[in-house]
Chain length 155, copies 2
Amino acid sequence: MRIVFKKETEYALRGMVYIQIQNLKDRRPGVAEIAHEIEAPFFYTAKIFQRLAKQGFVRSLKGKGGGFFLDPEKKDLTLKEIIIAIEGNELFIGCGFGLKNCDENNPCPLHQQYGLIRDEINRLVSGETIQSLALSSMTKNISLGFSRENSEKKS
Amino acid sequence: MRIVFKKETEYALRGMVYIQIQNLKDRRPGVAEIAHEIEAPFFYTAKIFQRLAKQGFVRSLKGKGGGFFLDPEKKDLTLKEIIIAIEGNELFIGCGFGLKNCDENNPCPLHQQYGLIRDEINRLVSGETIQSLALSSMTKNISLGFSRENSEKKS
DNA sequence: TTATTAAAAGACAAAAAGGTCTTTTAATAT
DNA sequence: ATATTAAAAGACCTTTTTGTCTTTTAATAA
């Protein structure tokens, strides 16, 4: 059951952040490692990152020592860019309740209030980037949920 | 492609509001009328309202003059109740990004910000009821998107 | 009491999402 | 060269969601 994003989107975002974290440590993780760390199915993860690579969101190298890495040139890959590439932009436009003919001129009773939600989602995924998440989860000793080593030293 | 709610949920919410609007005019719409007004497939609408009837969210009468109606006793059926009956409550709990081990003690970098979104969604669907939406769409001459008669008199 | 109306029940099917696996291609190391 | 490593490509499958349709049951009106 989907929450706000599709499983594919979740795996993509989590995986991208993991790749970036490893890149910062001069490593290039492969599919097996990524899938394990983000707790996603191996083959599904492979498929998702093939697509992301084809779309230019991530780069890859085959063969020994190969794996995935982010283009160091691109310092600002927002979550929104990835989300839209996978799901389209319907989350960011429209009424959210599926009501037609709902706009400022002809608002449904939910229009204003839903606008707040949409704006908040928009603000979040536009403001955060893969890089910013990777950095904050490394420096602030905060867990991204798929990599518990960080918070495991309290034992 | 799903936005925030499933199609089924959208149809259910729109249909319920339509039923309540008609009830206020002492009418009991049938499946054909509801489906047409909310622009949903007839048979799918039928199935959805069978379920809602079985769950007690709406009542129905068979035969001539029959159709659907809300229990007049229940003056406060929140959107949230219907949403949870159809989708479960996963939208209202958890991280929203599918991250495990994400809570106040061990927050992911998105935890706080996503909390705002979840709270906003929660506030909206807890605060509004089928009755309040029916009333406001009638009295404030506001379109619910599936019934454009309201806003059509500007021609 | 029977013809008509309309919901209930439930089988069936198409599309989308999620997931699995095999074969091929391209790197690297020996 | 060739053995090894790892991604790319793409076929295939399962589950969930969405949608369709037929048959049955129950209410009303004539």
